[in-house]
């Protein structure tokens, strides 16, 4: 298996990278361009920028941030938050996004995925899924974990695959921002049913959490936010562990 990709996740509000706990409650941790430049220099595999308030307020200010980022960052950049139309998507790609992450709009209108796939291809299309266990079933949530959808996680993943998603960004709402470890139960639950690469997000707090997760097959990529922002882990250290464990 090829090494798990390490992705730095930047949740953005206005001009700031913020950090939330369980996708709620906010704290500013830095500026998007300074942080992404730092991670690029340290050898990050990819950068993920999510506009956390775009869906809520129906606006999107990420364009300028990405345009600036592409001046000095030469690794893939995925952009998400508030992409609701083909025009929104085009603006993102023109600003320098390599992939876009779609969440709420895909739930509202799954055909949007097909339209995007036909124009930009699956490789540019990430479906972002937030999930939480309700009555012993994983359910899909939208708007940063605020709203229930009554959609079953497995059904939704299969649909996203069929409709042309190239990757799934899977966020565990319960673990997100806690730094208490990844949702291993969720990882185990999805590892054999998802045919496209999964980016697992939420819960990395220390190196042991990564070692635990690497025991599972099919950990294609790991998105890390707070633990990198607060320098609790550095990218070199993470990559070393991944290379040591990659044959598991």
């Amino acid at each position: 298996m090829r090494p798990t990709r390490i992705i730095s996740r930047l949740d953005i509000k206005g001009d700031d990278v913020i950090k939330s706990i369980n996708l709620e409650g906010l704290k500013k941790v830095g500026k998007p361009n300074e942080l992404s430049k730092k991670y690029y220099k340290e050898g990050i595999d990819e950068i993920l920028m999510i506009d956390t308030v775009a869906t809520l307020y129906g606006r999107n200010n990420l364009q300028e941030i990405i345009k600036k980022a592409t001046e000095s960052i030469f690794v893939p950049i995925t952009v998400g938050g508030g992409i609701r139309s083909l025009e929104d998507a085009e603006k993102m790609f023109k600003s320098g996004a390599d992939k876009i992450a779609i969440n709420s709009q895909a739930v509202k209108n799954p055909n949007f995925l097909k339209e995007l796939k036909n124009i930009y291809g699956s490789q540019a299309l990430v479906v972002s899924i937030e999930t939480k266990k309700i009555n012993n079933q994983y359910e899909v949530f939208i708007t940063n974990g605020r709203d229930r959808t009554n959609i079953n996680l497995l059904d939704w993943i299969k649909k996203c695959q069929d409709f042309g998603a190239g990757e799934i960004l899977l966020t565990s709402i319960d673990k997100e921002g806690t730094g208490k470890g990844l949702d291993l139960e969720l990882l185990k639950f999805v590892q054999n049913i998802v045919e496209i690469p999964i980016i697992f997000s939420g819960g990395v707090g220390n190196i042991n959490h990564i070692i635990e997760a690497l025991k599972f097959k099919n950990l294609d990529a790991l998105a890390i936010a707070k633990t990198l922002h607060y320098n609790q882990l550095n990218i070199n250290e993470i990559k070393k562990i991944i290379n040591e464990n990659k044959d598991n």
């Binding site: 030469f74 893939p76 023109k94 390599d98 699956s122 490789q123 190239g166």
Partner: protein, 207 residues
């Protein structure tokens, strides 16, 4: 040196533009056939569907010009889908003809994944290996580069294969070259320092 990036349609060209700009000042994104023929170096980027890309090139009147680019002898680098369209044809969404500049066909990775032991798209930072005859440039072409693809080139002439990686014991072409024509399956503009180095090598005529 005049450098043109061919506007093949729907993609992020800004990153490639900025990567080239690190080394050369005269870079433009263009879909003007005359401008393209006057270039000293050409980049042919592309993502998405093969058929769409060919359709866009035809509509812009660039397809026929590119078909003869081997005779013009202008160095050209195709990237990702831009590399795939250099070959004869693809069976993505039904048969579609390519530029036919390099012998070979584009096929789905599904064909070599019958036991489903890897995921498609094939994504990641993958170590490439030099093919026989290209060891002298191994310092440029052997490294971890960023790949993201669901299709790959088959039936290619061994002497056009510069570097590759293995997937289920199949050699997946990473870089191909025939005279003035170079193709990269991965994204050099997204492959950190080693990718930028490769772009520099191409611009300097060392690839």
């Amino acid at each position: 040196m005049k450098i043109k990036i061919i506007d093949t349609g729907n993609a992020n060209f800004l990153s490639l533009y900025r990567a080239i700009k690190l080394f050369e000042s005269n870079v433009e994104i263009s879909s003007d056939p005359r401008e393209i023929l006057e270039a000293d170096k050409i980049f042919l980027p592309g993502v998405g569907a093969f058929k769409n890309c060919i359709h866009n090139l035809k509509q812009k009147g660039i397809f026929d010009i590119l078909k003869k680019i081997d005779k013009e002898q202008i160095p050209i680098m195709g990237i990702c889908l831009g590399m795939q369209i250099l070959f004869n044809d693809s069976n993505e969404f039904g048969e579609s003809e390519g530029l036919g500049l390099v012998q070979g066909n584009i096929r789905n990775l599904e064909n070599i994944n019958l036991e489903k032991n890897f995921k498609i798209p094939s994504i990641g930072w993958i170590q490439t290996v030099s093919n026989i005859g290209y060891e002298n440039i191994s310092n440029i072409i052997e490294d971890k580069f960023y790949f993201i693809h669901s299709y790959y080139a088959v039936n290619i002439d061994e002497k056009n294969l510069v570097s590759y990686y293995y997937l289920n014991k199949n050699k997946i072409p990473a870089i191909i070259k025939k005279n003035n024509i170079v193709g990269c399956q991965f994204h050099p503009e997204k492959s950190s320092k080693q990718g930028l180095n490769l772009i520099k090598a191409f611009l300097e005529g060392n690839l």
